[in-house]
Structures are given as C-alpha cells and as structure tokens.
C-alpha cells in the first residue's frame, strides 16, 4: 500500500507531453532532483526526503526568436559512467547541461532542411547508453553523441536511421557483456520498436512492428522490453527475439509514461485516464518466460497524468505530474 506524501509545488504547471518527469536520485547527499517541462521553460528543483523543495532553477529553450518562444519537448538526466548530464530537447535542438543545470556544455541545432512543409520539427526521446547519449528527432533519426568523461567536447558520433516517424522515447540498460545482447531500445509514433546494441557503431538486433498507435514510453530490464501505447496497452517483449510475451489492457486512455525500479523489477505505468499502476515483472521458473503481476493502482482524480517516476531503485516511492497541475504528487509505501 502507498500513502500520499506532501506534494512539491512547481512554479509552472506541467505541459501535456509524454514522459514529462525526470528524477535524479542522489543517495549520497539524500537529495532528489526533479525536472518538469512547463512549455517554453522547464523547471528543475531539488528536494529533501520530506519533500521540502530546497533549490530551483528554470531553463529555457534556446533561440527564442519569433512571436512564440520554442517549446521544450522533454528534459532528462543522463547518468553516464563518469558524469551526469542534463539533456533538454526542444523545437530547435538539443541542449546539454551539467547535472544541476548551471552550465550549458553543448548545443546541437536541429537541421530542419529536409522537413517537408507538413512536418513539425523537434527533438524528443533522451537516454544514456554507456558513454553515449541518444536523442531522437521528428524525422525518426536517433542522434548518438559521444560524451567525454568531463568537459564540453561532445561529438555527434552516429545517426541511426531506422525509424520513419517521430521518435517518442528511448530506453537503455547497462550492457550485459556479450556482443549481441540488447542494451538500447528506440520507439516511435507508429509504435515501431528498434532494438540495438550500443558501441562505436550501434548494431540493430531486431525490430518490433507497431500496430497503428504510438508507443509513447519504453523501458528495458534484464532483456525484457516494456512498451506503453496510445491505446492504453502495456506489452512486454523478449528483447533478443522481439517476441511478445505479455499483453496488458492496462489503461483506458493513452499511456504517457513508464518507469522501472531495476532492483526489484517493478514497472510503473501512468496514463491520461488519471490512473497509475505498478506491476511486478518476473521470469517463470518453468519456461523462463516473462510474467507480470499487478501490485497496486492509484487514481489521481481529474488529473490527466503526463509523467511518472520511481524515486528510489527499490520502487518504494514514486512521483507523478499532471497536465495543468502546478505540483509534483508523491507517494511512498507504508
């Protein structure tokens, strides 16, 4: 069972985007960082365990010329082997900062050159894979940036061109050793999932076709892909083969966010139907195939959710954001 903790107030309400909450846990100093996109600005704040906000900062999308400032599409902390970067994607490009958002270390402008007049231009989908940071674009490209251990010498190492529709989300897990084991999954608006092995040259291992709805959020855990779709379904696939193993009719509206607590294999799903659900993933002892058990459901009345994250690796607490809501809702288990 979970109980509601004290909410953390936000300067600006959360925008109706998917995956609109990033959480960075810093167990060493007992602080948790939160990042939420408001629209043309994003808010970072750090809070103590009781939820008392200690420091906050606002970031804006670069290149604010024109009548309306560009919108931010996502903000996400990338935990790399030797550093943590804060990455921000917008309608203009990709901004990378030191983890507290104080210094911008890299700016990549999107090349709108080949966007036909009917396409919206933006970057979206952010994940760290080893010492790479992967960022998706409206054209379905995945930009792979090589990140040095320190300093601003970030280099665009590769551009993956498998998707044809805008990237929605990217998931990664630490490399498992062998060459052909998947450690990166990219998802797009058509529901297509591409499974990769990272490296100096990313290798495509397999593809999982969509079925007419966007895959808005994706997670990867111990060779299992968890994908959340626009029709409210969560599907679990075997990453190495792309075979579907579980199909959950989880929500009555589009799923906006998924998160994983890796220590215990717990999956958190949040959707526009105002519900969050927590699921336990496991491998069956007999066949070794993936199984799912429902653990907990929570309703946030009249709130169209847009982001959800566990706040600790054991999944004993989580936070949620909602459209038009100027606070982060928090829950922890009793």
């Amino acid at each position: 069972m979970f109980r509601r903790e004290r909410s953390i107030p936000l300067r600006g309400s959360a925008a109706a985007l998917c995956n609109n909450l990033s959480v960075l846990q810093l167990p060493s100093c007992n602080l948790t960082h939160f990042g939420v996109v408001h629209g043309p600005s994003a808010q970072l704040l750090s809070a103590a365990p009781e939820g008392v906000p200690l420091a906050q900062r606002q970031l804006h999308a670069k290149e604010g010329a024109g009548v309306s400032p560009p919108l931010i599409t996502q903000i996400h902390w990338c935990v790399l082997p030797f550093r943590v970067l804060l990455v921000l994607t917008s309608q203009r490009g990709i901004q990378m900062y030191e983890s507290d958002g104080s210094v911008m270390v890299y700016w990549h402008a999107l090349d709108a050159g080949d966007a036909s007049l009917v396409q919206a231009v933006f970057a979206r989908g952010i994940a760290a894979s080893g010492h790479y940071v992967c960022v998706g674009t409206w054209a379905g490209r995945v930009l792979v940036f090589d990140i040095p251990t320190k300093g601003p010498n970030i280099v665009l190492s590769e551009e993956l061109a498998r998707h044809q529709t805008p990237i929605t989300d990217i998931a990664t897990e630490p490399a498992q050793g062998q060459d052909c084991v998947a450690d990166t999954v990219t998802a797009d608006d058509s529901g297509l999932l591409c499974v990769w092995r990272s490296g100096p040259k990313f290798k495509l291992l397999t593809q999982i076709p969509g079925f007419g709805v966007p895959c808005s959020s994706v997670q990867l855990w111990q060779g299992t892909i968890a994908a959340g779709y626009g029709n409210g379904q969560v599907r679990l696939y075997e990453a190495s083969t792309g075979t579907i193993h579980v199909q959950i009719n989880a929500h009555a509206r589009a799923i906006c966010a998924l998160d994983l607590a890796p220590e215990v294999g717990k999956l958190l799903s949040a959707a526009e139907d105002t519900f969050i659900h927590i699921w336990k993933l496991s491998r069956s002892p007999e066949g070794g195939y993936i199984e799912v058990e429902h653990c907990h459901g929570e309703c946030m009345p009249d709130t169209q959710l847009c982001g959800a994250r566990f706040c600790d690796p054991s999944g004993s607490s989580f936070a949620v954001t909602g459209y038009d809501l100027a606070e982060i809702l928090r829950f922890s288990s009793m």
Binding site: V67, S68, A120, V213, N231, Q247, N249, H251, R253
Partner: protein, 379 residues
Amino acid sequence: MSIRTLPLLFLNLGGEMLYILDQRLRAQNIPGDKARKVMNDIISTMFNQKFMEELFKPQELYSKKALRTVYDRLAHASIMRLNQASMDKLYDLMTMAFKYQVLLCPRPKDVLLVTLNHLDAIKGLIQDSPTILHQVDETFRQLTDIYGGLSAGEFQLIRQTLLIFFQDLHIRVSIFLKDKVQNSNGRFVLPVSGPVPWGTEVPGLIRTFNHKGEEVKKTEFKHGGSYVAAPKEGSLELYGDRVLKLGTNMYSANRPVETHMSAASKNLASRTQESIVPNPLAKEELNLLARLIGGMEMQKPSGPEPGFRLNLFTTDEEEEQAALTRPEELSYEVINIQATQDQLANDELARIMGEFEITDQSRRNASKGDDWLAMMDEL
C-alpha cells in the same frame, strides 16, 4: 508544435462562438431578420474561401493575441456590436468550452469528430443561403481530405499542441459547474467510467504468451474505473452519426451563459508571459487577418441596416460591472491594427492588397489609392 492545429482550433472556437451568439440573439429578442443577417454574415466571413486557404496552410499556431483579434473582427463582421466586457466573456466561454472538449476526447483523433459536430450545427444555423451552405461543405471536404488520413501519432501531437495552448486556463463557467463537468476550482471532471475510446480494450486483462506465440495464461486485475466497450466509431462522412456528443450545442434559450470571474488559477505567475513588443504579429498572422478583413463586407452602423449591440450579460449594469472588476491577469490583449502601420511597407501586404483589387468582387468602390488603414478604421 504540430503545424496542422490551427484549422481545428479556429473552426471549433468559431463554432462555440456561433452557439453563444445564437443563444444571446434569441435571449435578447433581437428581431428575426437582424439575427439571421448577423449569423449569415459571420458564418460567411468565417468560411470565406481565401481565408480558409490561408488557414489550412501548414503553420505554427498563432499567438493568443492574434487569435483573439481574429475573433474580435469576426464578431464584428456584421451589424452587431459587442462591448469589450461582452467580447471578453464571449472569448472566455469559447475557449473553456473547446478546452473541455479536447480534454475529454477519448482518442486524439476524436477532435476531428468534435470539429464535424461544430460544422454540422453551423449548417443548421445558416438560413436561406445555399451559397454559404456550400462554403461550409467545401471546408468540410478540405478537413476530411487533410485530417482523414493523419496517423494516431499525428493526432496525438495535435492534441498536445492544443492542450499546451489552453494550459493554465481555469475560468469557471456556470453551465459547466451546474452540469458537474467542472469543479469549483475550475478543473474539469475526468470521469473514470463509460465507454473506452475506439481502438482501446476495457482495462483489466493480462495475457501471457509463450515463445511460440500461444496464449498460456489469462489473469485479471482490478483497474479501479468502470469502463465498457466502445459502441461504434464515429462517422467522418458529410452526413453521419458522429457518436461523440462533444462539440454539439449545449446552450439553449433557457440556459444562461455565465462565467465566474474570480481567478481560479492560483499560480498566475506561472502563465506564460507573451511578449508585449510593439510589433507582435508574425507575417503569417498578418496575412490571415488581411484575408479575413478582405473577405468582410464593409458595414457602417448608420447604413441601410441599423446596427445593434449584443450584451453577453443579463443587464447593461452587469456588463459595466464586469468590465470594472475583471482581474488584471485575465485581460486579453488585442492587437491594435493602427500600431502596425510600418508593416505596410511589407511587400507581402502590398501583394495581398493588389490581389484583392483584381479578384475580390465584394470590396466596394475601392480604388488603388484608398488608404488601407482608413478602411480598417471603418470596421
């Protein structure tokens, strides 16, 4: 973000505006012939071919200021006048109604059905004018041509773009409060029961498969809501059962249009501050306004058809009171066309003016020497 959003925003807000004006014209007992003229004039201007062409071009959403100015002009396309307070209230009602409809759409694509509901009703408001009816049918065709084939992902982006546009608007509307679709804090009620969207399964089932793709287990879980399957898909044909009720006319002569002006939004500082620079209009926005004004009949209040003032409030005193007590943070900024004089040097506008000379028959007695600003003053 999506560059296909503007037509949907414009047509739905326009539809709501017509519902409200229609209700007020009847409530205020405006004579039938005058009311009919006003409705026909506004609808005809809204669906003007050149204007629609401009509107349907792929582009970013207009600024809130520019959009509000478009509706100001539209509302004054005929012999009817509205005071600032009434225009503000009209716009509040329009925006909250469409925000509600977008939020409650089961699927992102359902916003298209909402738009068709508005178009269906608009056709019902047109009286004795096959020409105007034809204009609306043309727009219907354009809509289904462009939006009929868009993917679920593109509709999701459109929905997000609309919701970002309406972010932080929490004006309380009497009719919504009474119907319990809005809470007293201005937030809309999101029901957790009823039919699921078309293409979604009722939540509660977990199906497990083996590596051969055979289903090996089926379990249920308690979802928390009480949903039922979707009955059928709404029709996108010219005539058809839309199934969805969102976007149909919720006003009738007996249901007054009221809003509560106490600012329900606590985080007012959080509203995105739009820049108040002297020339806030982008070239595209000016184009749209120019085409809108170009398509309008120039009406003088003292002309053959005497004008009248419509009041969105029950009495004149109420209207005055509303104007005085409107919270600062809720005031709309309307673009002062006078202030954009230097934009006339813009080649684009000169070209548009030239175009109107040749092709637009409805402009009366305009010669190349006419001062464009003087024409604006007449409006």
